[in-house]
Symmetry: none
Subunit: 230 residues, 2 copies
Amino acid sequence: MNEKLKILVIEDDKYISHFIDISLSKENYSVLVAETAAEGMFLFSSHKPDVILLDLGLPDRDGVDLLRELRTFSQAPVLIVSARGQEKEKIAALDLGANDYITKPFHMGELTARIRVAERSLQKSAADAGETVFSCDWLTVDYEKRRVLVDNEEIHLTPIEYKTLILLISNKGKVLTHNYIIKQIWGYDGGDSKSVRVFMANLRRKLEKDTTHPRFILTEVGVGYRFSDK
Amino acid sequence: MNEKLKILVIEDDKYISHFIDISLSKENYSVLVAETAAEGMFLFSSHKPDVILLDLGLPDRDGVDLLRELRTFSQAPVLIVSARGQEKEKIAALDLGANDYITKPFHMGELTARIRVAERSLQKSAADAGETVFSCDWLTVDYEKRRVLVDNEEIHLTPIEYKTLILLISNKGKVLTHNYIIKQIWGYDGGDSKSVRVFMANLRRKLEKDTTHPRFILTEVGVGYRFSDK
DNA sequence: TACCCCGTGACAAACACATGTCAATCATTA
DNA sequence: TAATGATTGACATGTGTTTGTCACGGGGTA
């Protein structure tokens, strides 16, 4: 079989898509380019790409809408490409389960780095299926025993703290919006993110060595949080 | 004739328009209320109001579009009423020659103050027709002689500085966007506003007593500049 | 009642962005 | 070539928003 990862680029600006095509091909990816949402959906069905790069503000259809449809039958990693002034749509896309975002203009280095992260989330989702323990650096979480160890010492987490940590870890590398977190933890939509901030602070105080330079729980300003196991 | 100034309020939120109606009537204005853009255009034609209050985000038509049409046959002062997240439209409206803006939510005091400014711009446009000299506090500008005096001392302005000053003074009280200024001074659109900043700084250094608290050249953050002769 | 957890308000810190300032460079012209 | 003015980049300042932190009070439970 072909070992190359297939990447579908849905981007109407030909200059940008061409540039992405060249760069990613060099990195040994197999690149498919779609200039419209319709073409993007078609190429997705026919080629089953591993990662999707979705530009917001396509000519024929709202990118958020495309993602909503895509998510009804696929959990493939989606990387949002947005310009300034599209923050709202960007957040909406992330709420719908986009994995990450990148803001135009960007350097190719950023792009390939984020694609590598998305790529790992692919492999992980397969490998993690039977896993019952997460471990990285000084942090260990045992799902079955509901135990959390820091430097091999068990620490106590309150119910919401634990639930939040599990949510973060099971989506490691992926950006989680405030809204998404609120919905997952408290079950309702559009709530205030004040509590989230407090719980993240509490978790950091218990898990991180240096809360001002977190190792695990990273802040995405204006967007939400992301768990990093690097 | 009726001495009352006629104000046309184009606003779809009945609660707000009612409140404005009450408040402005108390201030001895004659108030007309339109709930749609179409009604607004009709009331304008039939009543020739002196000042227009235009809310952006009307149900039946883009407010910027309405203003564009209005400006093809009238230079009546227009005060934009905008909410958060309508910055783009607000700027577009100001570019098209709206005189000022006010952001919801606002206090009635702010509104009446801005209407008084718009009102003065009416009287001025009549009075200024034959004027050849502008004078306010320590600043005097003689258009015919192209001379600028500060504390009765002639000062030197470079061509662009002078042109910019004249632009500001002939639109005193009115908000001028970066784009509008660039178009008027340099003749092209969508340029960088860096130069504008430098020229405003130069003008202030030459005209103002305290550049950190300007008397004449006021900054409208995120929008542009405004000349005030109070 | 004492304890634990959660939610909230108040405030501080960090951050992004717009504007102000300065200085170097470039173009024009006397 | 010297002088003036325009443009540009780098950096400082200011302003508004987002995030982090702390501490208080309510509600549930042993």
